[in-house]
Amino acid sequence: MPAVSLTVNGKPVTADVDPRTLLVQFLREHLRLTGTHVGCDTSQCGACVIHLDGVAVKSCTTLVMQADGGNVLTIEGLAAADGPLHPMQEAFRENHGLQCGFCTPGMVMTAVDMVRRKGNDLDERTIREELDGNLCRCTGYHNIVKAIAAGAKAMKA
């Protein structure tokens, strides 16, 4: 079994893995970081979005071996467990941007990446277009869009 070493939420991790292991499986089953979800397993829903070396990636469509030596950030690493929420998480809470919450980790990670690429002033059209790869079965997106616009602004402060 090949060995894989990567940094997850700032901590170095090393393991021997079956090369078939997907990054999302590694995160959920080996590291027990179950905040990253699997909605579709076919690269469509975005519930599994994490950041790999600083960019949003669908972890259900990436082998953990492809992340070897890389730096992974998951929803658990966005804010300290005992501290305040990340401004984007806070904006989702404040704007009722979630109902069941299944899509939310992927939405938040996608939103933070969106801010990195598009800046802190996001109009509705941009947000909707950028959410192309994230599906939500509950909210109808309206409050997610509002949350992302507010969270993007709050991230500047």
Binding site: V55, T61, L63, Q66, D132, G133, N134
Partner: protein, 264 residues
């Protein structure tokens, strides 16, 4: 997924050696076509040869009258490349509408072309610009490269290294996106380079990407949507499924071609 042996060579030569010795080995680029196919157990590679550690495969450069793009360049790199945007905005546009943002962070041009999905975007640009596929063994003209759906002229042991796009004065891509998958239901790439006029269609044909010679003829006089006003293509050979009939796709080819010409 079925079991496989994972390999991560440091050079193209090493990758080619593994590939040449094992016809069931497969190259892994970004993984956004291959991994989904493997998950569905539609592919059963004996070995996965990950090109992720091979240096120098993701360069994007201007060479004379061409833009040369490395096989491992991600869609996001092509979409944002100042070189591509300046020389070839149509190509940057095309790369920027593939999949969704997270997919564009991983998917590569080489992977897309080696896979030759009948609904993929890049084949339209490659055929629609008369690009050249450069492998570890030879150069293949776009017209000789695409051999039908999921089939290409690549031989066992052959790996795409880069793609050379001759710069066209006028070019544009328009796609009618499948609303769920984002794949092209119909995508049309048009270009004019001197007297070389090309109209290439992806998504519509049941045999993969193809050129519309009747449109190309009609555009010789004037490269404008007017020149193909009212023209359609026959519905035979078009894809038909729950998302659109063959007639609908044939109709969209004309519509998308005119929209692309209006933008070019």
């Amino acid at each position: 997924m079925y079991e496989f042996k994972y390999q991560r060579p440091g050079t193209v030569r090493q990758a080619a050696n593994i590939l040449a010795k094992d016809e069931d080995a497969k190259i892994l680029a970004g993984g956004h076509s291959l991994l989904p196919t493997m998950k569905l157990r539609l592919a059963k590679p004996s070995q996965i040869i990950d090109l992720g550690r091979v240096e120098g495969l993701n360069t994007i450069e201007l060479k004379g009258r061409s833009v040369v793009i490395g096989a491992m360049a991600r869609h996001v790199d092509v979409a944002n490349s100042p070189v591509v945007k300046e020389a070839f905005p149509a190509l940057a546009d095309l790369a920027g509408v593939i999949g969704d943002p997270a997919v564009r962070h991983r998917g590569t041009i080489g992977g897309s072309l080696a896979n030759n999905d009948p609904n993929a975007d890049y084949p339209a640009a490659v055929l629609g610009l008369g690009a050249t596929i450069i492998t570890n063994k030879r150069r293949i003209a776009a017209d000789d490269y695409f051999k039908g759906m999921f089939d290409t002229a690549l031989e066992p042991g052959e790996i795409i290294i880069k793609v050379q796009f001759p710069i066209a004065k006028k070019a544009a891509y328009e796609k009618f996106k499948h609303p769920a998958s984002g794949f092209a239901l119909v995508g049309v790439f048009v270009s004019k380079r001197g007297s070389d006029i090309r109209v290439a269609v992806t998504g519509a044909g049941s045999n993969g990407v193809f050129r519309v010679t009747s449109f190309e003829e009609a555009l010789k006089k004037r490269f404008s949507p007017k020149s193909i006003e009212g023209m359609t293509i026959p519905a035979d050979g078009m894809n038909a499924d729950i998302h659109g009939s063959a007639e609908y796709r044939a109709h969209l080819v004309g519509v998308m071609a005119r929209r692309a010409l209006a933008r070019a």
